[in-house]
């Protein structure tokens, strides 16, 4: 058996149980003498396939979210304080090498965007990971008042799907690692304010 046969594709065939018994046995013998990284690959694939056999991952019916929104509305009525949440859309004030999707994509090696609102300024930095083409996205939120900065939640959204969520630290900094290239909206929120950053094409 050649080294090529222990490549990821072949190992996946083995771990899935697609190979004839004799061929699978040969691979197992070969794995005993393989390097640690190859054995780790094989072990992970086995664990992954076992996990997929144990569970079903399925999306609920399309109408369910609307039904639940109605149920929540009944709970929420009377609990809201009108005007307590301020919703803002951030304006791009400095594009550097990046600009919103409608204008230009944030591709190449990376760059910085600065957004402003009446409540806070937001800096976004994008860096491509050379080993796999994924992106590291980090940034910082600078509240415009002199008060102690509050914690913000930061979400990246693709359409309505939440791709990632994190929170700012005590310096207002946040980071996402290994974000697949694509077009994203970014939502920054606290108890008092929601700031929406319009779609940005990252890493195209």
């Amino acid at each position: 058996m050649s080294e090529r046969e222990l490549n990821p594709e072949y190992l996946a065939d083995w771990a899935e149980g697609r190979l004839p018994e004799e061929e699978a046995r040969t691979i197992e013998e070969r794995l005993e003498g393989a390097d640690e990284a190859t054995r780790a690959d094989a072990g992970w694939l086995r664990a992954f396939f076992q996990a997929t056999r144990d569970v079903v991952l399925d999306d609920p019916p399309a109408g369910q979210r609307a039904e639940l929104a109605k149920a929540f509305e009944a709970y929420a009525r009377g609990r809201r304080q009108p005007g307590s949440l301020k919703r803002l859309t951030a304006t791009l004030s400095f594009g550097g090498r990046l600009q919103p999707a409608a204008v230009r994509s944030a591709g190449g090696a990376g760059g910085q965007l600065i957004y402003t609102t009446e409540t806070a300024d937001i800096a976004l930095n994008v860096r491509r990971r050379p080993e796999n083409g994924m992106l590291n996205l980090d940034g910082q939120i600078f509240p415009n008042d002199d008060e102690e900065p509050e914690a913000f939640g930061v979400q990246i959204l693709r359409g309505t799907e939440e791709v990632g969520t994190t929170a700012t630290d005590e310096l207002g900094e946040f980071a996402f690692e290994s974000v697949p290239p694509g077009e994203y909206q970014i939502l920054v929120s606290s108890e008092q304010v929601e700031i929406l950053i319009s779609p940005v094409e990252l890493g195209a």
Binding site: L68, A69, A167
Partner: protein
Amino acid sequence: MMGGVRGIDRDLILACKKGQARAWDRLVAKYERLVFSIPRSYGLSREDAADVSQLTFTILIQSLDSLTGESNVKAWLATVARRHTWRMMERGRREGIGKEEDLADTPWLHGNEKPSERWETIDWLDGGLSKMSEPCQKLLKALYLDEVEPSYAEISERLNMPVGSIGPTRARCLQRLRMVLGER
């Protein structure tokens, strides 16, 4: 990649308690697949799973006032979904003549399953796949998480992908998934 998840959940719960619909929408969007997949993983139909899912989130609404910022909402939802899944299965076992043989193979009836394992597996897979590119998500779900278990030819047609490229693409997607998920 995703830090401070518990902190985000705390913020969402507190916002829900104030009646903020957007926070509720986000909470549902974040956990609806986990909650729905729990009864599906125990073999319930989509219709029954939808009932369990609806009930679980409805109980969450009813329980919002008693939840605190320290509550682990993900584990809470998984526990409620699992409990009502089991109730529905038990009801089905009592009502269904001739279904005992099928349920006899169900590990939980014999106490062989660690109760937390299945939802944590769902959460692990869902969390990893949600961070993959859309083509990889679609391919891996079709290959490994579709109960129909489509053939390569069917996947080729569904995803508009040559049959010959499914194997190599699958290997690349699995490598990326491993990077995202880390060791289990």
